[in-house]
Symmetry: C2
Subunit: 282 residues, 2 copies
């Protein structure tokens, strides 16, 4: 197999070690907070299922995060629960050194054979053009210096109306949105959408609660194959309570289609402390 | 064990057959469309996990529905994936006659030890008082005659603004909301919330698309222990496309707290045809 070209593809690469089992190397570039980004892990898990299943597209994937994943080797195990004519459902688990990190259920199908009706009532994200949005290159020096490696894996151009948190003036409205494109101009596909749903900072930043929020559970639905080009992401929470918050992400493609929706349950942010020991989850 | 008093408790009862394995009898009263209601199944699965786990409350449960469940005996298997100090994650499977019906991942904890901060920005459902809402007893004769058994398991008082579908005049806005209370005045608890999130008719009814919609995937978050009394349910979809739609449900308790949130991915409704043979999913 020739080396894939784009960073994202290189970093979710797998070696099949026996049927349904894969070895991955979680790359340090995807670190955020004290672990590896949940969307990167979700895409890697879905990649393993795609290698195992008769159907190629994740339609619904639900992941429960068991402990903090670290850069380095990981083992992925997939198990078919049901394979039908139009859908396959798999269980998939990612572990490191025998320690379970994530467990997921994934229902795969074929996006290209779905009926082409669309009756979307969700409004498209109201984003200024990209040249009026702000990338990390334009962030204050303080922010850039402490920005996690994750934010260098893609271009993220924030809506200026939702970026008060970056300059110490959170809007008080728990919404963050922006334009998204993977490094190397890697075009979006269903696996990249699974990364995109967890690519923005927590919407709680705009409530004046900085810090990265560990995900307990994340479910994503991929609703259509995205058109090439920039994606628009909209990330918001409605219910911060009991030390946790839910966070919904919508991903819209360049032709104005709502291509993915996700919801996660996360713990309220903890301050980022570099060099913290790994935090067991339970 | 003495017979539990309320219908809901009787109908989700389990017999442990060996450690972590349970026998259930899915009751015909919970049938809707051509199978057993997904929320009833979710509550039954969570009941099995609660019996197995060190923690008593479902915080996040993700279920993928593999084939249509029928009234009658079912086998439930639970498997601990990780048990920590504050959280336990289990896999749980429900099968009938060796055929897998549902597979789920569930993270349990203890709602009573969560911090008591609440910063909810979601608006409470704007519902008229119960005496100005409509129950199934007041529905047109045609509707009552064909109403599925499920709708007799609880009192559901619909907001008149979201019930156009019942009289052939759907509003065109994919939202249905109402008051909810289990039979026998059984007070809500976390297991009942898992039923409540799938208790309303599909929001697609209000788009003029009648018929019950088979769930592919449903994830529910229980965010607080509900206060006694009536619940308010709000059910809506934003993205009907590709033959599927997502559906979000919010459950609010009698003291105005958002106690559960769910999202499901369902197939677009098929017309209800009584006596149809079971439809395999794939």
């Amino acid at each position: 197999m020739s080396e894939p070209e784009a960073e994202f593809d290189r970093d979710i690469a797998l070696d099949e070690t026996e049927p349904g089992s894969y070895a991955a190397d979680l790359r340090p570039g995807w670190v955020v907070g004290d672990g590896v980004n949940g969307g990167y892990l979700l895409a890697t898990l879905a990649h393993a299922v795609r290698r195992s299943a008769a159907h190629g597209d994740p339609l619904a994937i639900s992941a429960h995060y068991l402990s903090t994943s670290r850069p380095g080797p990981a083992t992925l195990e997939t198990r078919c629960l049901r394979e039908g004519r139009t859908l396959s459902t798999f269980a998939a688990d990612l572990s490191q050194g025998g320690e379970p990190r994530i467990t997921a259920l994934a229902t795969f199908g074929d996006l290209d054979v779905l009926p082409d009706d669309v009756e979307t009532t969700a409004p498209e994200p109201d984003l200024p053009p990209r040249d009026r949005c702000f990338g990390i290159d334009q962030a204050p020096e303080d922010f850039r210096r402490t920005a996690p490696p994750l934010l260098h894996r893609y271009q993220l151009l924030f809506d200026p109306a939702t970026i008060g948190w970056a300059v110490g003036k959170p809007s008080g409205r728990p919404l963050i949105q922006g334009w998204f494109r993977l490094n190397d101009d890697r075009e979006p596909d269903p696996l990249a959408l699974l990364l995109a749903v967890d690519a923005l900072p927590p919407a709680t930043f705009e409530l004046g609660r900085p810090g990265w929020a560990p995900t307990l559970e994340l479910t994503a639905h991929v609703r259509a194959r995205p058109a090439p080009g920039w994606l628009r992401l909209r990330h918001e929470t409605r219910n911060l309570a009991g030390g946790m918050f839910e966070e919904d992400c919508e991903v819209w493609d360049s032709v104005g289609r709502l291509v993915a929706q996700s919801r996660q349950l996360a713990r309220q942010p903890r301050p980022i402390v570099t060099g913290d020991p790994p935090q067991p989850r339970g």
